[in-house]
Symmetry: D2
Subunit: 357 residues, 4 copies
C-alpha cells in the first residue's frame, strides 16, 4: 500500500515530477456530491508554485482534468480520477544529479529500493509536486465535509525561528480557522508574516533554506469517530501526514510539551455547555483513546528545511562509488512550509471524511 | 481495522483489562523460527506491573499461553495465538466510575462510540494492560529480527522535566542500545535515573502524575525498506505507535527541532565508509522519502502524564447529565513512561519485521 | 491476509487440529448486540463431529469460551475472542503420515510453503476442524442479521449422485429456508435424505468417500449492498467460501447452467409488487453488477469427496523422496458435505453482516 | 475496496463507458521490468471490440497512454497509470434508458446504491468496457510472469451448447496453452470454432444472445504459493474473477463434477518425475489447501448470455414506478464469452504476479 491511503475512502496517488502527468484516483466518494470546481481551484492555487517570490519559479496552471467519477459536476459513485499534465518541466536541470545522491532527499534510499530504475528527474515520485493530487483529493473532501458542518484550517505556526500564535483550543471559530487564508503568508498574527518573510529571504540570499511548523485544526467533528488502538484518529492522521514529503514529526493536542506536565494540569476536566459534554481545556487535541471527543481536533507537524539548497554539499557518486561534492541547481523553495499548509489541510480532510463515511 | 496492524505480518489484539483474558493473534510469521520463551518472558517482565514502587501495585504473572502457531518451540506457519488470563482483577474499584467520565481517559469518547455498551472496568479495551499482548508480538518480532542482525532498543529520554542523554545517531552500537536494560530505570545516564525517581515520587506524594519522552533506535536495518508516500517507514511506525495509549506525538530524527534549522545544517552529507554509503550526521533518523537509508532508525514519542490521579477532578455524570467531581481510586502508575519503554520497542520491532518479510 | 476475512467486520481464525485450542477473533462487531449462547451452541452442534454414524467418530463438545468482547451477554465493541480447547486429540494416529503426503490434502503444498515446519497432526491449520471457529463467527453474525430481518439457510443439494430439490428462487420463505433444519440430513425433500444416507453408507463400506453440492440462500437482503468490480457481493462471498476446505467451485443464481442459455431466457424481467421492484425470475441470484437487487441471494458450492479414505493410495515419502503407498487411518467422514452445510451458512452470514455495517 | 484488487500488486480501475477516459493505476510493480508495448497492444486487441462481426460494432483503438510509472520502456517502481481516452461514444443511444431498468444489467442495483447519481451511459462504471484497463494490468503482468517461466492461457470451452475440448490437465505444454491464439475464435478444437460461430449468428439473427464457459490454465507456477483459509489461491482468483462483468461461477480443477465422484477417483496420487513431486491426475487443479502444488493451475468460469438483447423485454420505469417494456438498442455483442477470454487471462496473471511478489 505505498501510494494509497484510506479505508472506505481510498486515495491512490500516481505520477512523477517530470513524467507525463500526475494524478489521483479516489474510490469510495459518496454519490451525488457537488464538486465546486472554482473553489477546488482556489484551494489548489494555495499550494501551487510560482505564487510569490518565496516559492519555486516553476509556474504551472495545475488545473485538474477529471477523467472519471464526475457527471454534471457531481460525483457519480464510480472512482474519480483527476490528472494534471506536466507541462513546464525542464528535465535538463536534473540530469547530472542522477549519479550524485542529493543529501536528505530520497535519492539514495530510492536507488537501493528500485535498483537504480527509479525516475530521478525532479525527484520522480518522491517530489513535493505529488502533493498536488493529494490536494485535489483533499479539496474535494473539504467541500463534502463543509456540507456536514466540519471545517479544516491550518497555518504556519513557525518558519525557522519565527513563531505565529496558536489557534484557540477550546472555542475555535470558523473566523479564526480561516483567518490565515486572508493573508499572503498563512498566519494568524499579521506581524509574524513579515518576520517570516525576512527569515526566508535571508536564507534564500545565502543559498540556504529554513524549516517550519504547521498547526492544523478541525472543528465540527462529532464525538465518537475512530477506533481503538491501531484504528485511532491519531494513527490514521499520522499515517497519512507522513505521506507529505519533508514532514518529520506529528503531535496531537499539547503533544511533546505534555511530557513535562503534571497529570493535574494536563487532564481536561469535563463540563456541560448547552446540554453538551465539553472539556474546559483541550490538551487532548480532540482525541482520547483514538476516538474524537467532540472538541476541536488539533495537531502540529514539523517540516524540515528544504533539502535542495544552492550551497555546495558533500555527497557520493553512486556509479563511481566516490566521494564528491554537488550543488543543487534548478528552482527550489527556500521554505516549503508555506506551501505545505494546504497539503496538511488536505490530508486532514481526507482522513476525516474517511472516518465519517 | 481497529485493533489490527501490519501488512504481511498481521497483529490482532483482543481483550479487556478485567475480562477473561487478553491476547494476540499474529498471522504471517515465517515458519521455523524459534521462540525463546525465557527471553520473551524477560522482555514481558520489563513492561509488567508491580515491579517496583513506581508502578501500579497490581501484580500479575503475565505469562503468555500459546494456543496455536507454535510446535516444539518453533513457529509452524499457522497464525500464532497467545493469551494471558486475567487473574488479579478487582472490578469493584471501578464500578462507580461507569457514569463518571474520567478526564483524559477514553471513557467519554468510548461511551459515545459504543452507545454505553463498552466495558468500563479498568478502561476495558482501552486499558494500558492491552500493551501486554503487543509486547508478546513485539518480543517475538525482536527475536526474529535479532537473527537477521537487527536490534531495537529504547530508553526514557525524559520523565517530567528530568532528561536523559540521547542515543548516538551515527555510530550506535549494541552496547549503547542495550545499556538501559542494565538499569532499574531504563536510561543511558545513570545520574538521570535518580532524578527521575525523585520526580516521580514527588508527583505520587501529591496524588499527581508525570509524563515523559521515549527515544527508540533500531540498528542493522538495511537500506531500501519502505515504500513511498503513505507506505513509508514513518507512516507505518507512527500509525502503530499511536496504538500505545498515552502517546501524543512522534518525531523522527531531529524531528520538531528541524523546524528551526537551516537546510545546510539539517542536510546529512553522504560519505563512503568501508565501501558503504553512510551519512555524516543523521538528522534524517535513518529514513528518507519513507525508505530506510541504512543509518540507525531513530524516533521519539511523547507520553502524556497518567490521567488516573488521586486528586479530585471536575467531570460530568453521563447518566444524570450533571456536573460533578470524582477521585480516581484504584492502583495507578504515577508515570507510565517507564513501562511504555518496552512497548515502544515492541511496536518498532513489529513494524520492522513486517517490512523485512 | 491468510486466515483473516472481512473489511468492517474482520474475522481472524487461528488454531491447529491437534494444538492447544482453535479460535476466532472478531473485530468490528456492533456494540450492544445480544449473543444467545444456546442458539449459538445449537448452530455449532449442526457442524460438530460425532452426531451420527456418517460423521467422524471424534466427539468433542466444541463449546466456545469467550475471552473478550462480550459483557453481560452482549457485545461491548471490543474485539471478540472465542476459543475451543482441543481435548479429544489422538495425535498418535497421524505420526507416520508426516513424511507421506496424503493425496488431495494440503500436506505437500504446505510442506513446500512452510519448509517442513508446519503442524501435520490432523492436518494442522488446514484441518476441517478450523471451520468450528468460522461457525462461531457465523453463528453470531446470523443472530445479528436475523434482528435486521435477514435470514440465511442452506441444504445439501447433492450428495454424490443423489439430488435434493432446489430452493424456490423468487418467493423464498423462511419456512422453506429453515426446512432442512428439521431433518437429520439437511435436505428439502425428505426422500432425498434416505437415498443420500445409502450412498454415503455404500461409500463408507468400500473405504471410500463421496462429494456433494450445497445450495445456500439469504432472504431479506436489501437492494444496494456491495460495490462494483472487485468489491461485489460475489467477489466477497466466493473469496470467503473458498476458505472452507474441500470447496472447489462457487456459482451464483443459475451459475454454470447460464452458459447454455439464451439471453432472452436468462434475463430476469422487472415487475412491481406492492410498490417494490422485483424480478419475475431470479437467474441472477439476487446480485447484479456485484450489488444486491433485493431478490433472494442464491449460490451453490461444490464440495469434493473427503480426501481421507481407507483405501490404499499411491504417494511419495517426502523425506526419502521415494514412491510408496499409504492407507489413511484415523476417524474420517465419508461425506463432509453434510457438516459443511452450516459452515456455508456461517460464511454467508459473515460476509452479509460485513456488507451491512 | 470496490474497484481495487491485490495485496502487494494493487490494481485500481477507474472510468465509465462514456466518460472522458478509462484507466488503471498499478502500484507495487517491481522496478526495471520492460513493458513490450507491441506485445501489450496485441493482447489488448484480443479483447477490443469491432474485431469481427460477432462483437459490438463500436470501434476504438484502445491504445493505452502511460501517464506514470514507466521510464524508457521500463517500470520505475512508481505507481503506473495508463489511460484509454473514450473517443467513439454515442451517448444519445442510452439516454432513454436512464429511467428504464435494463433486465440483468446493474442498472437497478446501481440506482439504489448510488441514489440515482450513477452514470447510466453505456452502463457507466459497470460496463464491460472497464475490462480494457484490467487487460492493461493483466497484459503487463503476463509479460513479467513469462520472464519467470509462468504462462497463462485460456479458451472458450463452451459457447451456448457448443463445446470445445479441454486443456490437458497433467502435462500441459505452452504449445497447447497458446493454441487458441492462432484461431479467430479462441478454441483448441478447430471444429468447435465453426459451430460456435453458427450458434452466435443464430442468436444474433433472433435479436438474442448466448452465454459460455471459459477454461483458463497457468503453467510453470511453482509449488508453495498462497496462504491457508481466506488467503488461498482459489480465494484470490475467484475474488478477482468476479470483477469481470457477466461471470456467474468459478470452479477449480474438476470443480462441480467432483460432487458426484468418489474420493478414490478424485484423489490425485503423488509420483516422482525427474526428482520432482507431481500428481498422476490433476482433479485438484494445481491448488490444495489454497496453496499451489506445482501442477498446472486450472479453472473455469461461467459467462452469462449478454443481457443487452434486441428483443422486447418487460421492465419498470424507475421514475414513474410503472411497469413497461423496453428494447435495448445500440451496439452489443451477442456473445461476450469470446472477448472475455483475454480478460480471464488478465485477471489470472494479476493474481499470480501478486502471489509471486
Amino acid at each position: 500500500m505505498s501510494s494509497m491511503i484510506g479505508e472506505k475512502l481510498r486515495v491512490s496517488i500516481f505520477g512523477q515530477s517530470h513524467g507525463e502527468a500526475i494524478g489521483v484516483v479516489i474510490d469510495g466518494l459518496p454519490a451525488g456530491e457537488e464538486i465546486d470546481a472554482q473553489e477546488l481551484q482556489a484551494f489548489l492555487d494555495r499550494r501551487a508554485p510560482g505564487k510569490n517570490k518565496f516559492s519555486t519559479a516553476r509556474k504551472e496552471g495545475d488545473v485538474p482534468q477529471f477523467l472519471s467519477g464526475v457527471l454534471d459536476g457531481k460525483t457519480c459513485g464510480a472512482p474519480l480520477c483527476a490528472v494534471i499534465h506536466n507541462t513546464d518541466t525542464r528535465s535538463g536541470d536534473y540530469k547530472p544529479l542522477s549519479q550524485l545522491m542529493r543529501p536528505s532527499h530520497a535519492d539514495y534510499p530510492a536507488h537501493v529500493r528500485y535498483g537504480g530504475h527509479q525516475d530521478v528527474r525532479g525527484g520522480g515520485h518522491f517530489s513535493g509536486r505529488l502533493t498536488a493530487p493529494v490536494c485535489i483529493a483533499g479539496g474535494i473532501a473539504k467541500q463534502i465535509l463543509a456540507r456536514r458542518g466540519i471545517f479544516v484550517g491550518a497555518h504556519a505556526e513557525a518558519v525557522g525561528r519565527t513563531k505565529d500564535r496558536r489557534f484557540g483550543t477550546v472555542e475555535l471559530l470558523k473566523e479564526e480557522l480561516f483567518l490565515p487564508l486572508s493573508r499572503a503568508i498563512p498566519v494568524l498574527d499579521e506581524g509574524a508574516a513579515e518576520a517570516m518573510q525576512n527569515e526566508i529571504e535571508a536564507a534564500r540570499m545565502q543559498g540556504d533554506s529554513v524549516g517550519g511548523i504547521i498547526e492544523c485544526a478541525a472543528i465540527g467533528v462529532p464525538a465518537g469517530l475512530g477506533d481503538p488502538m491501531f484504528g485511532g484518529v491519531e494513527n490514521r492522521l499520522s499515517s497519512a501526514l507522513f505521506g507529505i514529503p519533508a514532514i518529520r514529526g506529528v503531535e496531537f493536542g499539547t503533544g511533546f510539551a505534555a511530557a513535562a506536565m503534571r497529570g493535574s494540569v494536563h487532564n481536561d476536566p469535563y463540563r456541560l455547555r448547552d446540554g453538551k459534554v465539553v472539556t474546559e481545556t483541550n490538551h487532548h487535541g480532540g482525541i482520547l483513546g483514538g476516538i474524537t471527543s467532540g472538541m476541536p481536533v488539533i495537531f502540529r507537524v514539523a517540516v524540515k528545511p528544504t533539502p535542495s539548497i544552492a550551497l555546495e554539499q558533500r555527497t557520493v557518486d553512486i556509479e563511481k562509488m566516490e566521494e564528491t561534492t554537488l550543488r543543487v541547481t534548478g528552482r527550489h523553495d527556500p521554505c516549503i512550509t508555506l506551501r505545505a499548509v494546504p497539503c496538511v489541510e488536505a490530508v486532514a480532510a481526507i482522513v476525516l471524511l474517511d472516518l465519517m463515511l
